[in-house]
């Protein structure tokens, strides 16, 4: 054990003698882990935003087979038939808690890049606010039905210019006034702009059609009753999903995609980092051949030479991994980023560096260090004792 620690200490202390190569190895491991963590942080952040967006007791009605709101068209009659469905909750006046909604894409200017990006302008009915968890007006007031007034989600305020309270803003050919800001506690709706349904239908010539209807259910289980009703009603051709499922389907795919891009990219970089680690460790062994032979001559075992090399490699890899975690954490954690959301619009979400992805990153780094150190380690263990006479 003493001899093992002594040899490991010698290996690690000799790292500065190969500073250039060691730094290159640390850097390539760091890049690899940073890419992995970056993608995972995006995926996790995105997933968190999406998961926070959907409720179990809100049903979303779309045209059969349309999958996303943008592709869906519902007529006024559909709303009337849904109103009377069993399992739909009512408010204290006996009215169904339900909102027919229609959204259009408008352009906003991103603060960071000063480029245009898509924003959803959603026309909603009064009950819309009761259909989002944690909805609150955080400044100003709600829009007046029938007027060209906007309330703007906090994510939009953060990422886009020109939506400050009281501001008038041109969206397409129409001029609007921002009368309030709202929050839904970080869900996807924070990335939207809301106004009155009738105004959107009017200004964008949609007649009385809508895209989606949201309705509160008496309980999460009531979705089955509603589904049975819709299927039994010949005049309705609708897909009914809970809001949670709806988001999981439409945006969960993006999180999965991010992971599917992030992992292979990291693996490719891992191969590069592995080659670097291998090369560095080979030169470590070669430059210390006489030292290793001397230790063996004194009586140190080949195993200690192997372990010294392997652990030096693991130390380099861990330094790279730790560097990446630090940089990613400082740069990304909690920072908001935008990405394409469910329907061509920007969903604002935060990077989430999770414990799980940090562990994944460290494991990948250690795997690279292990594989990169093992063969040079065997070489170290096999150094000929006769090398003691080398100059």
């Amino acid at each position: 054990m003493k001899q093992l620690f002594a040899v490991i200490g010698m290996n690690v202390r000799s790292i500065p003698q190969r500073a250039g190569m060691s730094i290159a190895t640390i850097t390539s491991v760091a890049f690899m882990v940073a890419v992995l963590l970056g993608f995972l942080a995006m995926a996790n952040g995105f997933e968190k935003t999406i998961n926070g967006s959907g409720s179990d007791d809100v049903a979303v009605f779309l045209r059969g087979g349309s999958q996303a709101e943008l592709n869906s068209v519902l007529a006024r009659d559909d709303a009337r038939l849904i109103e009377v469905a069993p399992g739909i909750a009512t408010d204290e006046n006996g009215d169904p808690i339900m909102s027919a909604e229609l959204y259009v894409i408008v352009d906003g200017i991103k603060r960071a890049s000063q480029t245009e990006a898509n924003l959803p302008l959603r026309g909603v009915q009064q009950q819309a606010v009761n259909l989002r968890q944690n909805f609150s007006i955080t400044a100003g007031r709600m829009f007046e039905p029938g007027s060209a007034e906007l309330v703007v989600g906090e994510g939009v305020i953060r990422e886009f210019e020109g939506f400050e309270l009281g501001q008038t803003i041109r969206l397409g050919s129409n001029t609007w006034t921002v009368v309030g800001t709202f929050s839904t506690g970080g869900s996807v709706f924070d990335s939207e702009i809301w106004t009155d349904l009738g105004v959107v239908q009017n200004l964008y010539q949609r007649g009385s059609s809508v895209q989606s209807i949201r309705a509160r259910l008496t309980s999460p289980e009531a979705i089955e009753e509603v589904r049975a009703y819709v299927e039994g009603e010949d005049r309705l051709n609708l897909d009914v999903t809970s809001e949670r499922e709806y988001f999981a389907d439409s945006a969960g795919g993006i999180a999965t995609l991010l992971k599917w891009v992030g992992w292979p990219l990291s693996i490719v970089m891992a191969i590069g980092a592995f080659a670097g680690a291998w090369n560095t460790m080979y030169s470590s062994v070669d430059s210390r051949t006489r030292e290793i032979a001397t230790l063996r001559t004194i009586g140190f075992s080949g195993f200690t030479a192997f372990m010294g090399t392997l652990i030096e490699s693991l130390v380099l890899a861990l330094l790279g991994g730790a560097l990446a975690i630090l940089v990613i954490y400082i740069l990304f954690n909690g920072n908001s980023a935008s990405t394409l959301g469910g329907g061509f619009t920007q969903i604002v979400f935060s990077f989430q560096v999770t414990m799980g992805s940090v562990i994944s990153g460290l494991i990948l780094a250690l795997a690279v260090g292990f594989l990169g150190g093992i063969i040079p380690g065997v070489r170290a263990a096999r150094v000929s004792l006769l090398a003691v006479h080398q100059n």
């Binding site: 202390r13 000799s14 001397t294 001559t297 140190f300 080949g302 004792l385 006769l386 003691v388």
Partner: protein
Amino acid sequence: MTDQLPLYQLRDLSKTYTRGKESISIFKGLNMDIQHGDFIAIMGPSGSGKTTLLNQLGGIDSPSSGQVVFEGKRIDNLSQGDLAKWRSRNVGFIFQFYNLMPTLSAAQNVELPLLLTGLSGGERKKRVKTALEIVGIADRAGHKPRQLSGGQQQRVAIARAIVADPKILLADEPTGDLDRATADEILGMLQQLNTELGKTIVMVTHDPSAAKYAKRELHLDKGEFVERGKTS
């Protein structure tokens, strides 16, 4: 009764190197005894096999045939692991280029052989200090090899060779890289280790004036020993 046995008995020792199809015989049928307390200088032309012979004595290379008997027991047929253990208990090596670990201080270098023993940290420190005092370099205990002159580095290397109190010191051209005056200091120290502490020493050297410090001179030439009495 091992004291009555010679420390080493070389019996019919041969070493042949094969390079491809060619095989080169370095020495053939060498016989020699080394007694406790001896100080032998092995001389001979370059390539005569001096280092090769020292390697056999030190158990870092094995003979092609014949036996190396140490205190009555063969060491030429030991396994690698057993040989390593045997070396750590019995042999102190001194090299031409010192072979110190560049990242370790003088004291840490000297401590290395003790890490293979069961000695406590305190006991190791004491022994390291004693060894450094014997070679007269205790004041440089904290220095790295880079901060020491060649002669000082060789002193540290000698301290490392004696710290575990081995039965034999094997030195290959210990002064080959040093100037005359420094070489004489080092050789004087080896002689002192031999006469005062009773260390058995086998030293390979090119240098006739270095050989004079030994009790016996052996000349290795064309694979055979020619013994010469001390000339002086």
